[in-house]
Symmetry: C2
Subunit: 301 residues, 2 copies
């Protein structure tokens, strides 16, 4: 196997994860989680989003969370910003990195952000421009890179076009998300092969959900294609694996176990990571969504 | 990716799965399960074992189960036999295929079969010989092909030696089992690369447990190495994914979803397979261990 020597793990649990959990989580618990994740060695911990609390009440306390965390040198704490208003709040909170998000499917863009893909870019262009002018780094997300819940399969060329537009806005990295977790390695590789000629693979990240259990197989295939940045969510936060309709993110512990086994360095400590995941799972009152975390816990007893 | 065009799925749920479930399952339920799995298109359904009921009470009704199933033409219903006594019972039940099992680790052989690896081969040699003489097919299992719960990592050369000895006894196929589910693709490929020069890859099967969530990644890597036979267990039978210390088999539904997505033909119908898994899970009173089954069920509601 041709694999990268090191991988940057982007932890999305405190944002993409908690935003999709049914119960609200107090700011103090989020702060402890984010600090524990940085302590475990994660260099990127997505920490919140400045979106309307009407739409995403779980993230209404993002400013409080950012004020409470202990910012470690060398660790990035990006937040999602949907518009200029959100960016201004991000400025006030002193963030160094923001993320913007687009969909590869028109129906998803309409239902999720209430505008077309073109309109979303018209909205994001000034956000990216102002963020970059202020010296912030901008990351881009694309949802539905394999399939859309409303349209079905999404053409790889559509994903490539959106990725190209995000890169043109100045995103240093584009994260490719299989939002509904339906892809298998064949579809993922076809998508990557369409995107990589437009946005080089060293500016791409992959973002999988484990809805159909395919996430690690997809990550392995992506690594073999040269992708070296992987999004994941501690304890699989973002959808309880036992609940109906859950579409949890792939668990960071499971990704790290894979990378460790492949001899790929990450700088992340699996015991500390699992401990952070176990604590938030205990707070949520449910078993961890990570098989690795459950296996490690069962070995300890 | 270089992948096989078709894969033979070997269903081990009714034996390897149910034998490791805490609660006993009535023969009638096993019979309905086996018939449903064959109806779903599985060409190999492991159906029981003739071992001492003192050691494995869950399999004490294997003769009754074999008498009750509707044997479909073209479907094999192998049973495990540990010795000549077991083989004679298998003869009485009119089976066409038996399986013998060895460990790649001395400690595991001692603790699991109460004899050394050499002694286990001395015991199996006449079993294989008589089975072959009677026109039966003989499959060989190896446990602990990546690591042993007592010894830790197992050398690929040790696995290769045991595989070679099983092939020499006349096993048409050797199934390589990561019994404790700790391997990742790097270890699996190192092991396959040691085995394949002695037993050609077209006589090898892989058998993964999803303890650490790595099974599908390991299967993908094995497929890329040319392995075209995969063992799995419907609904992940063989260890509840929510229980302490569980080491469930990889779920057949999850394997099939991967293979379907890769365009690899199996002859198995995923809806019928998932229905069979949902029924046995309901009988056991627990959610299915298959993420695919849970995702499909949540889509139906």
């Amino acid at each position: 196997m041709m694999l990268p020597k090191s991988v940057r793990m982007v932890e999305v649990g405190p944002r993409d994860g908690l935003q999709n959990e049914a119960q609200p989580v107090p700011a103090a618990v989020k702060i402890a989680l984010i600090d524990a994740l940085a302590d475990a060695g994660l260099a990127v911990v997505e920490s919140g989003s400045f979106v309307s609390p009407k739409w995403v009440p779980q993230m209404a306390d993002t400013a409080m969370v950012l004020a409470g965390i202990q910012r470690r040198p060398g660790v990035s704490y990006p937040v999602l910003v949907p518009n200029i208003k959100g960016l201004e709040e991000a400025f006030k909170s002193g963030v160094e990195e923001v993320a913007i998000f687009a969909a590869a499917s028109e129906s998803f863009a309409q239902r999720n952000t209430n505008c077309s893909i073109d309109e979303s870019f018209a909205r994001f262009a000034p956000v990216a421009e102002r963020a970059l002018a202020a010296g912030l780094r901008v990351r881009g997300y694309i949802s539905c890179v394999v399939a859309c819940p409303y349209e079905g399969p999404v053409a790889p060329a559509d994903v490539a076009m959106v990725a190209d537009r995000l890169a043109a806005l100045g995103c240093y990295e584009v994260s490719l998300g299989d939002t509904i977790g339906v892809g298998t390695p064949a579809q993922v590789l076809a998508m990557l092969d369409a995107v990589a000629p437009l946005v080089p693979v060293d500016r791409l990240a992959v973002h999988f959900h484990d809805t159909y259990g395919q996430a690690l197989a997809n990550i392995l295939a992506s690594l073999e294609r040269g992708v070296a940045v992987v999004d994941s969510s501690v304890a699989g936060l973002g959808g309880c694996p036992y609940a109906k309709g859950a579409t949890g993110n792939v668990a960071s512990e499971d990704v790290l176990y894979l990378l460790n086994g492949l001899g790929i360095s990450t700088g992340v400590d699996i015991d500390r990571l699992a401990a952070a995941g176990d604590r938030i799972s205990a707070h949520l009152g449910r078993p961890s969504g990570s098989r690795v975390a459950r296996a490690l816990a069962s070995k300890r007893h």
